[in-house]
């Protein structure tokens, strides 16, 4: 068996400043990995490098492609990388505005990835869009409404539908529940967990919310100052943190 993603010695610098450095890990099919750390710890930089939105200065991001097996996405051609971005990868942004076309209807938003890979039958695109809206609990009669008329939670769910419609294998999530009410967060987390299980997705979730990773992630990486200071099973890292920074992080969480 091959890992879906194999990251080796990844580094990104902003001039003399370190974005992230010396990051190595692998991710296996069906695994959800959380990345936590405070603002500026490099977790978002790392995510951008993994998703191909940012070119790392050093290191490899080897993805197990469907047709060619493991390929370094850092050195692969841009068309190929962008094709991955539309098919096998998905990116759920913290702000729905970054991940949705606000002026395009919900159905059009979901259908875009299908059309991008060649779907040319309106009826079938619409059927698939309806199916996906249902799966993310958006009423069918909202299919022609634009996301700007949706609540924050609905926008986030629409973003998920739009991303998962092409059946990706790896989902990058940047603070997927950030900015949502707690009750809406819970519903979204449940939805994500169900989808991850049903579709056998692998996911990398960047967040600063330890409760989110505990419920969503199998594994956890803790970042500080651009480096991974601790990694392991989520519950093990949270319940028996080894590194001083992780201990501080865990002990800083407010108990309800």
């Amino acid at each position: 068996m091959t890992p879906l993603l194999d990251v080796r010695g990844l580094e990104k610098r902003y001039g003399a400043r370190i974005g992230c450095t010396d990051v190595s890990f692998d991710l296996w099919p069906g695994e959800v990995m959380g990345i936590v750390g405070e603002s500026g710890s490099g977790k978002s930089t790392l995510l951008s490098c993994l998703a191909g939105d940012l070119a790392p200065d050093r290191g490899e991001v080897i993805f197990d492609t469907r047709d060619r097996g493991p390929v370094d996405t850092v050195t692969m051609s841009e068309p190929e990388r962008r094709m991955l971005g539309r098919t096998d990868w998905a990116f759920v942004h913290q702000t729905p505005r970054d991940g949705l076309r606000m002026g395009v209807s919900a159905g059009g938003n979901v259908g875009e990835r299908l059309m991008a890979v060649g779907a040319r039958h309106y009826g079938e695109i619409r059927t698939q869009a309806l199916d996906w809206l249902g799966r993310v609990e958006i009423a069918a009669d909202r299919i022609d409404d634009r996301p700007r008329d949706f609540s924050g939670g609905m926008q986030q769910r629409l973003q998920i539908a739009r991303n998962l419609v092409t059946g990706p294998r790896l989902v990058f999530m940047d603070e997927p529940t950030g900015g949502l009410d707690v009750s809406v967060q819970a519903r979204l987390l449940d939805l994500l967990r169900g989808l991850v299980r049903e579709m056998g997705l692998s996911a990398i979730v960047v967040t600063h919310d330890l409760a989110v990773v505990r419920l969503l992630a199998d594994r956890l990486m803790v970042m500080q100052g651009g480096r991974v200071v601790e990694a392991g099973l989520t519950d093990q890292v949270l319940d028996d943190p080894q590194h001083g920074y992780t201990q501080l992080l865990v002990s800083s969480v407010l108990q309800v």
């Binding site: 296996w28 695994e31 707690v182 009750s183 819970a186 519903r187 987390l189 449940d190 967990r193 299980r197 505990r214 419920l215 199998d218 594994r219 392991g232 099973l233 519950d235 093990q236 319940d239 028996d240 080894q242 590194h243 001083g244 920074y245 201990q247 501080l248 002990s251």
Partner: protein, 227 residues
């Protein structure tokens, strides 16, 4: 099935001057299929710590913890994830679930994770919940709002949903009435009968006497207190 050798555990408190606390040393344990071993010792002696190390929740400082052929002390996360999904069940004292998920789904989840069809997993969950006298009216609600006893039974149902070859039980009968306690003890007995290796913590002496084949006093593994 469960084999511990010379296991030690330390906690390093980086934010309190780097103090290193050694809480366990030389722990050893062997549980065969169909056997139930009860961990004993005073509060704070390390029963829960040992249990958590067997589950991979706490990291061992040294030694080996082999469950179903996997050494949790050195295994990669994905091996432990797989072990927990297929081989090693855990009924903790506390219910930790995604809020707003219905009880039935919470109980069915271990089966779903193993790829069981939704309907079959639901039936299995329903059977366990009825057996544990969780009223059907509650199945569609999230257990987060339930009473302690109800939560405990939901937790047990979840822990027994899949026939794990190895089971860890942390106070499974703690807040249950006599009837439900009896049902849980029956469940444990059935698990033993099908060959599950069980490690449990039972403060309830009657319960312990009813299911445990052996007792292991963890005080023996406490540094400074061992002979």
């Amino acid at each position: 099935m469960i084999e511990l050798r010379d296991v030690a555990k330390t906690f390093t408190l980086h934010n309190q001057g780097g103090a290193v606390i050694r809480v366990m040393d030389g722990a050893a344990l062997s549980v065969a299929p169909g056997e139930c071993v009860a961990l004993t010792g005073a509060s704070g002696a390390g029963k829960s710590t040992l249990m958590r190390m067997i589950y991979g929740n706490y990291r061992a400082a040294s030694g080996s913890i082999v469950v179903g052929g996997v050494d949790l002390a050195g295994a990669a996360p994905r091996e432990i994830i797989r072990l927990r999904r297929e081989t090693l069940g855990y009924v903790s004292q506390f219910l930790r679930v995604v809020p707003r998920v219905p009880t039935l789904d919470v109980v069915a989840e271990p089966c779903l994770a193993l790829g069981m069809a939704r309907e079959a997993a639901g039936e299995r969950a329903a059977a366990l919940l009825s057996r544990l006298n969780v009223p059907e009216a509650l199945w569609g609600l999230s257990p987060t709002t339930f009473s302690g006893g109800e939560q405990q039974r939901v937790n047990i149902a979840r822990g027994f949903a899949h026939d794990y070859p190895a089971l860890l039980l942390d106070e499974p009968t703690a807040s249950l009435d006599a009837v439900n306690r009896g049902i849980v003890l029956d469940l444990i007995g059935e698990a033993k009968a099908r060959g599950a290796a069980i490690v449990g913590i039972f403060h309830d002496l009657e319960a312990r006497a009813a299911v445990a084949d052996r007792e292991v006093d963890v005080t023996a593994f406490t540094p400074g207190q061992a002979a």
